[in-house]
């Protein structure tokens, strides 16, 4: 077996040192009834690298790869070009095969990277501080709701109808067990966000309002009045960003006085990967830092007075606080955070702004072209790189027929909100720098045919 260095004579010599007659002697504490006498039946035996590669490649070929099709899906995961150097660097063994930096003297690479990541994320989200990452956007969103409960000591969260329905589902699942009350609503297929409704709903029991920016239909709205209304009631504003590239073109939620800003960082550096692993972004105002979940990296000095970095404020965390921890989270999403940070460093301010511009212009052009398809209507006049169309019929079967033609047309709202008749004709279309004008034309032409 190519991954096991011990030879049979090593094993025998080692058993001799241990004083055991056979390997079975080392498993004596396992009750006899539970001991397996050989390899588990009806499972295959070991295989060569070539054989495994053949098997996995055959499975991979059964998927319609985004890069091989005109591709327009978004709704929480976006296809962006990732520079080649990102994947090269994250595969360096010193990053790939390191553990959590519990021995900081020999983990400064990971720690400095996390410190840089935290700073990049805080600046992007417009918050004072950010942590070293969460599992993904949806879990970060729930953790933010929990954090707002701890800060305000109130148990009612108001979730915008524009929040990703899977994020709402995650929050509902968790709230069932923690006893939080969640007010939720289904979005309407219209140009307007539900900001006014949210403002009207805030009361003295509200811990927080959770709003997505841009929202699930791609709409963007000024969060400032909502932040003011929250703060007037001593509630917190939580903003959720599922497309961080947008923040190269539009104001950051922190700039509009959001208290906690969370996000899905997958767009930068990480790739689609069928939904994971991704990287949750988590930033907040400095005054709330001790209520934050997750790992934090901080600057310090070594015994010789040189700058260095360590994990810090760990008295919030489970390995110290056990049942009193701010969260049970133990890992972060280190390698994805590294990929995010490298991609962001390559882009820099200038690159991110250019990237955002290209995305926005591409989406604007695509929206213009697609809304010329007879019967198709652009629902969302204000958007970044993702917008919602209303088709003259249910969008879900249309998406399926387009997939049969090799076009991945977008996310039908019927998939996200099954059973909601008012949304069934909605199609959310994302356009990034990877989308070509030909892709848009292909989709438009196919839509014209199908809808004719």
């Amino acid at each position: 077996m190519r991954y096991l260095p011990l030879t049979q004579s090593d094993r025998e010599a080692m058993l001799g040192v241990i004083g055991a007659a056979s390997i079975d002697d080392l498993f004596v504490d396992v009750p006899e009834a539970a001991r397996l006498d050989g390899p588990i039946h009806d499972l295959p035996m070991h295989a060569s690298e070539m054989a495994v590669e053949r098997h996995m490649s055959a499975l991979a070929r059964k998927n319609l790869t985004a890069g091989e099709a005109p591709f327009f899906l978004g709704c929480g995961a976006y296809r962006h070009h990732v520079p080649a150097s990102v994947d090269h660097l994250i595969q360096r063994g010193e990053f790939l095969t390191a553990y959590t930096p519990y021995q900081p003297e020999i983990a400064q690479g990971t720690l400095q990277m996390l410190f840089e990541f935290q700073t990049q994320v805080a600046r992007l989200l417009g918050t004072d501080v950010a942590n070293a990452s969460m599992y993904d956007g949806s879990t970060a969103c729930w953790e933010a709701i929990g954090m707002a409960r701890r800060i305000t000591k109130r148990g009612k969260a108001i979730l915008s109808s524009g929040l990703h329905p899977h994020y709402v589902s995650v929050a509902k699942t968790m709230a069932k067990f923690t006893g939080d009350v969640l007010e939720t609503a289904t979005p309407s297929l219209s140009a307007d966000t539900d900001l006014a409704t949210l403002i009207a709903a805030i009361d003295k029991d509200t811990s927080c309002v959770v709003v997505q920016y841009p929202d699930i239909l791609g709409r963007i709205a000024d969060l400032t009045p909502l932040a003011d209304a929250c703060h007037a009631n001593k509630a917190l504003l939580i903003a959720v960003v599922t497309e961080p590239v947008a923040l190269g073109a539009i104001k950051a939620p922190g700039e509009m006085d959001a208290d906690i800003v969370v996000g899905e960082g997958q767009s930068l550096g990480v790739g689609l990967q069928f939904g994971g692993p991704y990287v949750g972004l988590f930033g907040c105002k400095e005054k709330y830092v001790r209520q934050m979940p997750g790992r934090l990296c901080g600057e310090t000095l070594d015994a010789d007075g040189r700058r260095g970095f360590v994990l810090t404020l760990s008295t919030r965390e489970q390995h110290i606080r056990r049942e009193k921890a701010t969260s049970n989270i133990c890992t972060n999403s280190g390698l994805c955070a590294l990929a995010f940070s490298i991609h962001m460093t390559l882009l820099g301010e200038k690159g991110l702004r250019t990237l955002a511009e290209i995305n926005h212009h591409g989406a604007v052009a695509a929206a213009a072209r697609l809304s010329q398809v007879p019967g198709v209507e652009l629902v969302t006049p204000t958007f970044f790189n993702e917008f919602t169309l209303k088709l003259p019929q249910e969008a879900r079967p249309v998406v399926r027929s387009l997939a049969e033609r090799g076009i991945l047309a977008g996310v039908s709202l019927g998939r996200l909100y099954p059973g909601e008749a008012s949304l069934a004709n909605g199609l959310v279309v994302a356009v990034t720098e990877t989308t070509s004008a030909e892709d848009v034309e292909t989709l438009a032409a196919a839509l014209e045919e199908i809808l004719a």
């Binding site: 553990y99 692993p277 990237l355 006049p381």
Partner: protein, 534 residues
């Protein structure tokens, strides 16, 4: 022109000269690296874009179709993100990487973390475009291969554990624990026994266990350990009653021992109507030799990043599928894959859950879990096969016992008399000189070129040193580590003061964690601007 032509002649090197401090702070191959904020600027970028994407530039900056616009939301203020060119970026992160210790570099015996070799075939397979470049919301007919990976891995995990079902979506071990505990809570509520509020957790448990139980609204009570390092079965049985919801046990436990009474404990727990959660962090010790399902376990998470070799990545991403008993499987989370008789794979989400999975406790994460880790873990599992995985646990246990018996005369091994250990060997700091503790031994090991063992965990042993070699270490590597640890331990017993300031040969000497926590500096601030603001 040759160098000899300019007058230089090879000469014998001079030994023993003293180095003077360098201008750069670098020491040969040990290179200092500034922060990106100190070396980058807002005008530099390492990414080129097509200069004129004209078909997409239908409108002016910020303007949408027919008079729409980003309007007042268009960003005006600078973000403050420094950029670097590609060569500068590659050099920055390459230099940072060299300040890290990784498994690729050497022995990494971090107990309870299973730092085994990460096969590169796993990485190659995860990067196949058919897996890496597919969207989680694509129509299911276009992702049958991806669902096939999830399904095939799920079959392996259930067969290796002898369990009924598996929830694949949890993102990491602690998330898996939460999944298991939520299944238990949902099952109790379905039985009308939501009043059961107590979860029993051994003192030696990982911190995530009590944190998870508390998060789900349970009250946590400790179970003591016996002098031989196992759960005190009598005390546990005495505490069982109608208010107990579950017991969370790590097996093999964090003292490195197999819980012999596991089946009896499970039976007793079930007899009072409670459930058994097993922390599967240490599954590497028993994979292929013991199936937790045969021990009466109801739920167990599997850290794919431990037993099944997906990379730790400097602290994640992990992946924590949870195997479930027949009693708990109906309550598992959405989404999951279902395989029909014709071979077609479906994704069961909220829409179809009513028919297919009506008792689910709901969704734990936006999408389907850590697909990138599933491809890696399945690649690893197929490489080993049923026979190779059995050899994995045998070699892991053999290596740990070899370390235990080779070092028990040097270091205090509190449970050495309790029989063979499983995949990790536990020592304490008893016997070190006054004022010396586990941390000094650990930092001494850094100077010897090793990553230290887990320190001060589990809590049941004073100054715990938990050593997990894994099966991917050669005998020569173990012998070298044993020799080094013997030497460092003898120095600590003799009170060698140089250990107190170790490490001496790392990129940094001991770091001041108290300072970091007292005045947290969590983001970089421009010192010029910061000074102006004061």
């Amino acid at each position: 022109m040759s160098i000899n032509a300019s007058g230089w002649r090879p000469e014998a090197p001079v030994a023993g000269g003293k180095a003077s401090p360098t201008v750069t702070g670098n020491k040969g191959l040990m290179l200092e690296e500034a922060l990106i904020f100190e070396i980058g600027d807002s005008e530099t970028t390492g990414v080129d874009f097509a200069s004129s994407p004209s078909p997409l530039r239908g409108a002016g900056r910020g303007e949408g179709p027919s008079g729409t616009s980003l309007g007042s939301l268009a960003r005006t203020a600078p973000i403050g993100l420094p950029g670097l060119s590609e060569p500068e970026t590659v050099r920055h992160y390459t230099r940072l990487s060299r300040q890290n210790y990784g498994i690729d570099l050497g022995f990494f015996p971090l107990g309870s973390c299973t730092m085994k070799h990460n096969p590169r075939l796993n990485e190659k397979m995860a990067r196949l475009p058919g897996f890496a470049d597919i969207h989680p919301l694509q129509p299911v007919d276009t992702v049958q291969g991806a669902l096939g990976v999830i399904n095939e891995l799920a079959v392996w995990l259930t067969k290796l554990t002898g369990m009924y079902g598996v929830a694949m979506s949890p993102k990491a071990g602690a998330h898996g624990e939460l999944c298991g505990i939520l299944c238990i809570k949902a099952a109790l509520e379905a039985r009308g026994e939501g009043h059961r509020k107590v979860v029993l957790v051994p003192e030696s448990a990982h911190g995530t266990n009590p944190a998870t139980a508390a998060f789900a609204g349970f009250t946590v009570e400790d179970i003591p350990a016996t002098a031989e390092g196992r759960v005190d079965t009598a005390a546990l049985k005495a505490r069982l009653g109608p208010d107990v919801a579950a017991v969370m046990i790590t097996n093999p436990n964090t003292c490195g021992l197999f819980e012999r009474d596991m089946k009896a404990i499970s039976d007793a727990v079930h007899a009072v109507g409670a459930y058994v959660y097993c922390d599967g962090a240490n599954f590497n010790a028993i994979v292929g030799r013991v199936r937790p399902g045969d021990l009466g376990i109801d739920a167990m998470h599997i850290n794919l990043h431990k037993t099944f070799s997906t990379p730790h990545g400097g602290g994640g991403p992990g992946s924590g599928p949870v195997v479930l008993s027949e009693a708990l499987a109906p309550f598992g989370p959405l989404p999951f894959t279902a395989r029909y008789e014709d071979g077609h794979l479906a994704l069961i989400e909220e829409e179809t859950a009513g028919d297919e999975h009506p008792h689910t406790f709901g969704r734990m994460t936006a999408f389907h879990g850590q697909m990138g880790m599933f491809t890696r873990a399945l690649t690893y599992i197929l490489s080993h096969g049923a026979d190779g995985l059995r050899q994995v646990s045998e070699d892991a246990v053999l290596n740990a016992n070899y370390i235990l018996r080779s070092l028990e005369k040097t270091l205090d091994a509190p449970f050495a008399g309790s029989g063979p250990c499983m995949h990790e060997a536990l020592f304490s700091d008893n016997g070190l000189a006054d004022g010396f503790s586990t941390i000094d031994v650990a930092k001494g090991l850094i100077d010897e070129g090793f990553h230290p063992m887990t320190m001060y965990f589990p809590l049941v042993v004073h100054g715990a040193m938990l050593i997990e070699p894994t099966e991917t270490e050669s005998k020569a590597a173990l012998d070298q580590f044993i020799a080094a640890l013997r030497s460092v331990a003898e120095r600590a017993k003799a009170g060698d003061i140089s250990l107190k300031s170790a490490p001496h040969f790392a990129p940094r000497s001991r770091l001041d964690e108290t300072l970091a926590a007292r005045k947290p500096v969590l983001v970089w601030k421009d010192p010029v601007l910061a000074q102006a603001a004061e």
